[in-house]
């Protein structure tokens, strides 16, 4: 467990707590239980998609396609439920498979086609939204299936369903990254792909798998989105990929790959959502929300990057001389 809850979590955890305390000080509505359970609803979709985004980043890739893929998948799900008469119990696994297959295609193009993932997924960001628009003449499909809503809004023992998905998928992801061959291979591929090849790791396969994971988690997010909004729309999920990447980055994942803790991504996502919640509770305009989110991203990465300088500075302020130890420098991504 020491391995899962390692020191890399301290920073993101501290950031989350500090932000929560600040928000709690500005409004007493924050700590109200109803609001706390809201946080899980709010964070769920982006946090689940961020698992995939983070795994791709661990392997030194980037996935810009999630937002458009969510739109496309909600449209496909809506099409299946509303116009093709496919029952929900069948449609859901099908969507998960479709998401995985999209990820597989992106992964194959990236890994075996040797195209930088930024390009592959940028192309997908553009093309998949186009594809989403080809369904139902580009109109949203509303009112899908009453059984869909409880998937998002349901509760078990008073705990909102999304909390369980988060627990399950983050648990699985943390286990995989820390205790399985695949997880370690992902870090190795991200840390030094050339070395990974020479140690017999099938780098292209591992890279491809990370995109399959991303596609699958995007499908999970798309199902929750459909359930929350009981509809599919080619406009859904705009900038969701950036939010997912932001969560990973605020959680300390290095865009250069090979470094980071998947649980920190959850904390990154929570930090962002707590800030947004706090701004909502204080009725801040959306302009302020954007500005604050931008600054948080910058600050989170900045603090991580300047750790050595900051600790030197702290040491100096505390009068302890040059006690600070230099942290290994991140590579520029």
């Amino acid at each position: 467990m020491k391995r899962v809850f390692d020191t890399q979590l301290i920073g993101p955890f501290a950031a989350m707590v500090i932000v929560a305390v600040i928000v709690a000080l500005t409004t007493d509505r924050f700590l109200n239980p109803g609001n706390l359970s809201n946080l899980f609803l709010q964070v769920s979709i982006v946090a689940l998609i961020a698992i995939g985004a983070t795994v791709v980043i661990f392997a030194a890739g980037i996935d810009l396609s999630a937002g458009s893929m969510v739109a496309l998948l909600t449209m496909i799900l809506a099409q299946m439920l509303k116009f093709m008469g496919i029952p929900l119990v069948l449609a859901i696994p099908l969507i998960l498979v479709v998401g995985g297959v999209f990820g597989l295609v992106l992964g194959l193009i990236t890994a075996y086609g040797r195209i930088p993932s930024f390009i592959t997924t940028l192309a997908a960001l553009i093309a998949l939204r186009g594809l989403a628009l080809t369904f139902n003449n580009g109109s949203p499909i509303f009112s899908l299936d009453p059984a869909l809503e409880p998937i998002f809004y349901g509760k078990i023992a008073g705990i909102p369903m999304p909390a369980f998905y988060l627990l399950f998928f983050y648990g699985l992801a943390a286990f995989t990254m820390n205790f399985t061959k695949l997880g370690r291979e992902i870090y190795a591929v991200g840390g030094n792909p050339a070395a990974a090849v020479l140690t017999g790791i099938n780098v292209k396969k591992v890279q491809t798998i990370t995109f399959v994971v991303a596609g699958f988690m995007t499908a999970v997010g798309a199902i929750l989105m459909s359930a929350r909004l009981n509809s599919g729309s080619p406009n859904y999920g705009q900038t969701l990929e950036l939010q997912a990447i932001a969560a990973a980055v605020v959680g300390g994942a290095s865009l250069a790959g090979g470094r980071g803790n998947i649980l920190a991504t959850f904390m990154g996502a929570m930090t962002i959502v707590i800030v947004q919640n706090g701004l909502n509770l204080n009725a801040a305009p959306s302009s302020v929300q954007n500005i604050v989110l931008g600054l948080i991203i910058l600050l989170a990465v900045g603090i991580d990057m300047w750790r050595a300088e900051i600790s030197t500075l702290m040491a100096r302020i505390l009068g302890r001389g040059k006690g600070a130890e230099a942290a290994p420098r991140r590579k520029e991504a």
């Binding site: 391995r3 820390n178 205790f179 399985t180 061959k181 997880g183 370690r184 870090y187 190795a188 991200g190 840390g191 030094n192 050339a194 070395a195 990974a196 090849v197 020479l198 140690t199 017999g200 790791i201 099938n202 290095s254 790959g257 090979g258 470094r259 290994p328």
Partner: protein, 509 residues
Amino acid sequence: MTTQADTPLWEFVDISKAYPGVLANDKVCIRLMPGSIHGLLGENGCGKSTMIKTLSGVQQPDSGTILHNGRPVVIADPQAARDFGIATVFQEFSIVPTLSVGENIYLGNMPRSRFGIVNWRKIHADAAAVLAEMNVDIPTEAIAGSLSVGEQQLVEIAKAVAINAKMIILDEPTAALGEDEIERLHQLLRAMRKRGTAILYVSHRLDEVERIVDEVTILRNGRVVRASGETEINVAQIVSAMVGEDIGEHYPKEQNASDEVVFEARGIATRAGVAETSFSLRKGEVLGLGGVLGSGRTEIARAIFGTDELTAGELVLNGAPVRFRREIDAIEAGIALVPENRKYDGLFFNFRASGNITAASLGGLSRFGVLNLRAEERATHDLIRDLEISTQAEEKTVNFLSGGNQQKIVIARWLFSNAQILILDEPTQGIDIGAKIAVYKLINQLTRAGKSIILISSDHDELLAMSDRIAVVQHGAVRRIVPASELGHDDLVRASADPAETPKEEAFA
């Protein structure tokens, strides 16, 4: 025809491999015997690493047969190679800098429980045992990227040792090691040989080849020019086989030093570890910096070059104190640094020779910020001709050139900038004997023209032969300066690695 004991463990027959545009291996045959150290030698680009990649399952040969204990087999991938008991230390670092030392050692081969769960305790315990066996003191929890280059190379070797292989392949394992570390590696290899391990060994350091290798195969242009047993293990014979001609003196040293002091370091120190270092450099002199791995020679170079800020002391150039706040100040004062790793710190692989050669002199090459491209082409052309660099360099980006040509281009950069003082940090690392001699001749040419050189080299023979004086560096400081002629190989080893003064974490325990 042979006795059982003479059956090769591995036999590689007529292995060919082409890359687009080059036939890197042309019907190469090698026989590897258990309990024997086999040298694979040849000039840069003759196909050694290509052969090794094929043997390690990284790539498949275009044609040819591989026999294991006499039976034909296919080494499908690196995992298959490992299953055959083959362990390889590759020329390119295959350390993952973001992971721990322990994990690096068992990467691709992690001990796991029945349910496929990675057994971290076993990884660290076993890794610690391997490092102990190698007599290396590195914590297994350390992040590999935070280690020094030499330590990383040792972890690299530990990866191969950990497999407990029947055959171990080492592709230039000593390029980043000092004399002391090399000796320890040799001890380890001798122990393995005694245990019956087959060893394939690649190095451009022919002196160490002479010391350890039992038999050699020599390649030229992808073909075997001397098979095992056809050449005696002595440097002169090996060289003439490699290059195809006799090259005479290996260290064509010229004495060009004068008495005029051009540069002085007075008690300089930096946060990177340089402590109270003083020395002077004379016109036309080659001042060698000798020391063990991590003794801080590179750091002294960085301090002189304005990369690291001085925390004490001063630099004196032509009698006047100077202060370099960044590299450009040093360059403008006529100081040059040829970094120890030309690939990462030296070359622009996106440029042809011209862009590489003029990179440090763009100011002088331009008026009002506009470059004189014609002058650039002319100067490049002349330097390529004078330094006998491959003329391909004029048309193609430098990633197509051999290591020796690449190194010459980095040095040419400082000839073009008209530097008066050149710091050459491991200038012959990883380049073949022919290219080394070219670099030595270049050093002579420079000193003859009145330029001064600070030479950093871990090849003691080279350092002793090419320097006028040698400064012995320990813990970031010059301990003493001796004329090279008064120092023997053994003296240098002893002087630089005085065990009484070497704290445990600095070198091998």
